[in-house]
Symmetry: C2
Subunit: 238 residues, 2 copies
DNA sequence: CGGACTATTGAGACTCCTCAACTAACGTGG
DNA sequence: CCACGTTAGTTGAGGAGTCTCAATAGTCCG
């Protein structure tokens, strides 16, 4: 793999209080620069923004809601590359075509920006571009973490690390010190496709974690962490 | 995962004839901008450039040779995030500290640039920064491919896709239409750590592929592809 | 309220991991 | 330059874990 890495001291915009894309990724000036280009959209869940291999004409920035980015594999299996949350940017392309398919998991509010106009803007505004560079670098770190996660062979460890990921994400979006109940809008099948497990394995794993008193599921889209230290132990024993 | 993606029509510098970092990533003007900052190094194999968690003060650009980037997991296992080839940039950091450990697999020639100076330069030169943005975006795509690869459960499929990766890399570095014998400087243990397999599983897989007449190994660091179509079939049956 | 999709639970097959022993290769020092 | 010691790689046998197939229960949406 001809992968590279980039060390640029990260601008801690993750630490800013979050109230949508604007305050997380952009300053007021940046937002004004983008406002002329961006179209605001509000779509119901299951909306597909684009399909893999189609011409990549836009970049998207999530304001509210959750999106999944996935590929259909030749075997017919579905591999979810990443879940995208408010503040995230998506539209990864290669040779002018989208790499993944993206679909709304919940109702989503986002901004859509023509890629050519964005490129011009980034070339004129190095400071704004740097925000994007930091953002993509962050995604690269997360992708590497994800790889480590799915490489492990125990379903319990994978699922525990998935919960930790949700917690991490929830945490920097809402500055609260972490309520113990997390929202989990994706389906069990989505989680399976993300972790590289069968839906059955996910189901067995959740049952086991509930039986052991580590997690509880008030409903299917909510998870309560009853034993954080034990969860950490399971997540860390890679 | 708060992962995002970025669609910027890729500058096809992968397609340029390669003669080191300069022509791949940078124009003459860019190189002059960087030359005052960069230190050229030439180190023997096994040299460790930095260890995970240490302060991230530099960014590196490979001119010749191959580098591995890995993490030691709590379990004592070693997970290789990526192999780095000529033209690649590395030094991924988080909160001012390196994320991975990087070590030379072969003798390596590279440039070392102080991260602060690079950041200043990138903010002044939007065009140069855009090269880096494209590069990191490319790495993100590759990281996602890698994730798909290690998610599969058959050792044969993983190894086949690994060979395809080597081939892809070799191909855009040397403009030749692909000799059927590829260099493979990393050890079997490295490959195992990269694919999420045990060394034994890698060994069994290579034996099987040789027996089936798909690959041949003139020596341990060279692989010859005897049956490309069958290799494709194995690599594609994710 | 009905129908389709999603989630859960059980039983058997498959694949890789672990442990162990042996062989080959490297590289270090005499 | 050679010899030895250490590291890396190969092959075998048994065990752990998930996948697949199948059936049932639960949920969401129209």
């Amino acid at each position: 793999m001809s992968a590279s890495e980039l060390a640029i001291r990260a601008i801690p915009f993750e630490k800013l209080t979050a109230a949508g894309v604007a305050t997380q990724l952009l300053t007021e000036r940046h937002r004004q620069n983008l406002s002329g280009l961006a179209t605001s959209l509000n779509v119901p869940r299951r909306t597909i923004f684009y399909r893999e291999e189609t011409p990549a004409e836009w970049v998207f920035m999530i304001s509210k809601g959750v999106v999944k980015s996935y590929r259909e594999l030749p075997s017919g299996k579905r591999h979810i590359a990443t879940f995208l949350f408010p503040g995230d940017v998506f539209g990864l392309a290669e040779n002018g075509r989208f790499v993944n398919t993206t679909q709304a998991i919940t109702r989503v509010t986002l901004y859509r920006i023509p890629v050519d106009a964005l490129k011009d803007l980034l070339l004129r505004d190095a400071d704004l571009q740097f925000r994007f560079l930091v953002k993509v670098t962050h995604q690269l770190r997360e992708a590497q973490r994800h790889t480590i996660n799915v490489t492990r062979h125990t379903a319990t460890g994978k699922f525990a690390m998935f919960i930790k990921m949700l917690e991490r994400d929830e945490h920097w979006r809402a500055e609260s010190s972490g309520p113990r109940t997390l929202m989990m809008p994706m389906t069990r099948t989505d989680i399976a496709d993300y972790l590289g497990l069968s839906p059955e394995a996910v189901s067995r794993t959740t049952s086991r974690l509930v039986r052991r008193g580590i997690l509880a599921f008030p409903d299917r889209h909510r998870v309560r962490i009853l034993n954080p230290s034990e969860l950490d132990r399971l997540a860390g024993a890679a």
